[in-house]
Symmetry: D2
Subunit: 358 residues, 4 copies
């Protein structure tokens, strides 16, 4: 079968691999819609995960089941499914202890596609533990909406969950690429009052407002911390979500959040601060350790039940993740173009989706 792979640093290309095999609890899926992610760009062009050779890319997909293992009960060939980017091993001790399942065998081990196994940019791809990791794709979601659930929506919403937003509280979202925009929507869904969106591009501000932002802050027009401090009489905000940005976004977040407030990070830091491989927590703004400014950060929740809850939000019109999709292409071969779009980020792009018609 054909797949679009990282051939090595800075190089992507189409390769041939054997079609994957399903173990007794697994499924093999053919893609119906795919979305490239900034992480794919990080992986190939910044070496965020280290050197990889001939690793198939991609972790955002909805598809149609080609084959299931003997022990799979709830899915059968022909079923249309949502495939979360994160597909944990559920039979692991950390899960018993309430540790997020994303770390079921150790840090980040629930993230398999385009990380520790071949990704979804292939004619077929493998799903571990299908009954626990796939969700049926209902007819009332479009393919474009559905593929946004697999990573963008669950990640952005997790930012709002980590930031522990309270009804009527003020929130700032730092970085409003597709994840940050979903964090804006998630903050609104948790009951944010005033909601600052920090970005720079016109199109993202437009969608941020549709998702509930009340104040758009352009970081090219001045230090965003100062801009928000001025708009809040020097108090800052109750909660901050870091949806994107360099390591210094954490320093901004700590400065912006009030004592007793919480920072929720869903930003993937590809590099540290300055020449150090550290995320910087500014000492004074953190009250020299005494300010009760809580810092939380974590990988997006995967698995079937999460996808099913996100489906409920879309079908009940709580949010439309389809607003993220600015570019749609038909045909598997357009995946490569999609990655390059994410790399080059033209002015009118938020997120591209590739539809595969059979």
């Amino acid at each position: 079968m054909k797949g679009l792979a990282m051939l090595g640093f800075d190089k992507i290309g189409w390769i041939e691999k054997e079609k994957p095999q399903a173990g007794p609890f697994d499924a093999i899926v053919k893609p119906l819609a795919l979305a490239p992610c900034t992480s794919d760009v990080h992986t190939v062009y910044e070496g965020a995960l280290g050197e990889r050779t001939d690793l198939i890319l991609g972790h955002e997909a909805v598809g149609i089941i080609d084959e299931v293992g003997s022990e799979v009960k709830d899915f059968k060939p022909g079923d249309r499914v949502i495939v979360p980017a994160i597909t944990p091993d559920w039979r692991k001790l950390p899960v018993e202890l309430g540790v997020p399942a994303q770390h079921s065998e150790g840090m980040l081990t629930g993230w398999k596609y385009s990380n520790i196994k071949d990704g979804v940019f292939a004619e077929f791809f493998h799903v571990n533990d299908a009954d626990m990791n796939l969700a049926h794709l209902p007819d009332d979601l479009t393919l474009e909406q559905a593929v946004m659930l697999t990573d963008m929506m669950t990640t952005g919403f997790h930012g709002a969950e980590l930031a522990d937003i309270q009804l009527g509280a003020s929130v700032a979202v730092l970085g409003i690429g597709p994840v940050g925009l979903m964090a804006v929507a998630g903050a609104r869904l948790r009951g944010a009052g005033r909601l600052f969106a920090v970005g720079n591009r016109e199109i993202t501000f437009k969608v941020a407002v549709e998702y509930g932002a009340t104040d758009c802050i352009d970081y090219k027009k001045g230090d965003p911390v100062e801009q928000i401090m001025e708009k809040t009489d020097g108090f800052g905000v109750d909660h901050v979500i870091i949806g994107g940005g360099p390591a210094t976004a954490m320093a901004q977040a700590v400065k912006l959040v009030k004592p007793g407030g919480t920072i929720g990070n869903v930003n993937y830091y590809g590099s540290g601060f300055d020449s150090h491989d550290y995320i910087p927590v500014p000492r004074m703004a953190w009250g020299s350790g005494m300010a009760h400014k809580t810092i939380r950060g974590g990988l997006c929740p995967g698995g079937r039940a999460r996808m099913e809850r996100l489906i409920e939000l879309v079908r009940n019109k709580r949010v439309d993740p389809g607003l993220l999709v600015t570019h749609v292409k038909h045909g598997f071969e357009h995946v490569e173009e999609g990655i390059l779009l994410m790399k080059d980020k033209p002015k009118d792009l938020i997120k591209p989706v590739i539809i595969i018609d059979y």
Copy 2:
């Protein structure tokens, strides 16, 4: 001054009392808008609080400050203010321990108006600790909206808080009078997916849908537990909010909520079950004590900071509490009519508001 009082069981009437005095931290307020509450009806016609003689009724008001004590810093005569129904004593040890301030001197002691001191249905009324309990009324809220914050909105939203609603989870609200309707809105603001509203009157179903209900359940058309069980394939819901009803509403809630789920009660139970003065938790549906179905219930949060957060929700268009107001009368003298409306509940009533023009 004049006030509308409970004269004794089953009797209300206008009485004359001395204008209240402000201590050093207190304020005296003249009403701009008043709303009668079902609790006033319970108090007078069901004796819910026991016998009271010449106690001025009412606990929902916005007003204009007439006088402040020497130590009040943030308010001055002439300021327009929102007066929460609950005005706790903040300098009390339970508050230090994180006990809800509504119980700052003992159970329910934060509820003062028309309970342990004269209420707001008077030409003037007293506010303890003005800096901690009043909120400035901004121009972008109508009087009708603002008076809904003082009890209906904070109470209904507290139901959603107590029920600990998770993103995309299913919720049932039992009882959709004005408090239950605000619970519907609160559930949506916390991210409910499917959202069942259990009531009976057309007008409340209409507003419930505007507030985010996805399924309206008429309890006169069959056991609401059975109706919801049927619509959820026998699973029930993740969270239940009890917004109104008799003691048996608790039994319904325990049956409806899934194992591991949470019930948030903001219903004020005027009487128990059958001849017993108990709220019944059905043994089998509660897993004989083993089902991890958590039961929480509490008085609405009062105080200034709560009101300020609710203001943020209204002014940022997250919710419009004004949808509750079906009847508006001008003139202080209409308060009596308002109480009788709440008592008789005509078909087209959700909540009446009396505006006082000076």
Copy 3:
């Protein structure tokens, strides 16, 4: 093989059954130590679970592995293991949502032994998902200590967890049979200050004090609510754990706990209140629904990770569950005598253990 079974209501007896078979993830275990539980008595003599015919009893065991399935990785024949009373199915959607695993397929479904499959009072018994449900028995625990972990310790400690005990807070434990005594120990381990133990028998008061009780309340010497209220100047306590008793224990708990406090129930209610099948929550003491007295209750946590954490507490001398064991018998045939002891509860009994020597 031989097993001690419930033959029908009020009847126990030895029966012959086929040795159970291990599926690919399962194990078959021979008992090394067994303990009868009050639940076994409820099951047989009160019909708590309904009619059962020839169901082997028992759910508290440590043993030696006889056989494992092909997919079991961490255990092999000959290993000595602790077998938790609760052995959930971990690959279930509620587990993904954070619902306690005891309810992984629906309410209480994690409780299998002597409930929905044959129990451990047999020459061999079956363990589902061995890698997730068994724990290695270390040499530094005695068999008597180890068998107390499987139900008594995890259940009693769960009471302390559910009651959400804060450092230095006051706690009352209602009912100090073996579960309640472990709740006393658990409350101390979570940092209780003053700690009331409500019981009646001398031997349980003695062990309660060793586990950290500061005040022993004999319920035969007067209403325990009144006794504790008197000792707390009418305030009651911050947390209550219900470790045993009839349905009215809940009413006592609600009266005893302060506004804002939490009740943790690990009592299994075999019947309701009066002629009703309800657990009674007293309306007035619950603030007519407004007191913020939270009621939580749930089945003990099972599974391997829980057992491993309890092992750490015993081996690091945080607590000695062996203090519960008042009667030790050697020989499988003594199991029947053990059940009868639990039924008759002689004065000097807390918990009997049967050791099987091979």
Copy 4:
């Protein structure tokens, strides 16, 4: 009156000041026992709070009431009292929102003594809001024990609270000066299983073991992270408390804690990392932002109710804070010597106490 003051950087000395005055809610207290704190050393010799002139030092005291304001209800001259280091303003909006009262008027504003007003190393000192901030000193606590409650015990225990310790979980405490030792005791009181204490001095290891440490790690004998990783088969621990150390202690904590675990910081960072004024969070060990390793840190809880709960722990023999006190001197004049002891840290010192006999 006489007081021991910071005269300027690097200089302490006795000065004369006017006796403080009590406002209506305040009290004036004469010291019975005083303890110098490492913070006093930081303040004077490292300029941690910036330049101060003639500011009286000290924030750990028990005393006897000399005078109370007209509105004080629960205390009178002659009463013996515990004075928490942190004495918040309770009538502030952040308190209404559940923000820790230590930040009641803004970050750290609850810390008044030797920070924003004269401290307790004086013949008389001032207490704001006596009813809310003082606790009666019961006869069953020694003065040495009691003065340890005011800062050491509440701070160390708060580390255990922030780290959210679960029953039987593994914990590491980094830094075992008096605060870290109390963190060890606090971790045990919350139910820690294995408990690593990282320090260097013999006397602190000895007390750590008495407080429940199971493994003493000498950081001079090798990288403490590596030592603990080796003892935990490379897994690390479930919770870390930072009780002391330089900014790099945070980096150690992040490396040591498992994915999904929590770090509780009660370390006061006097300076940042390297030449940067940052607390370093190591990017890779923090899962590039994705590891769900939560970082919490905050000032110790003050106020009356906190002190009363700590009293309950001491009087009920849950912990003996007196073990910290290695040096006792009689006479107010010895306070200066006490500070110098804290500065020079002789081998046999944990904490000195000065008793004032009248």
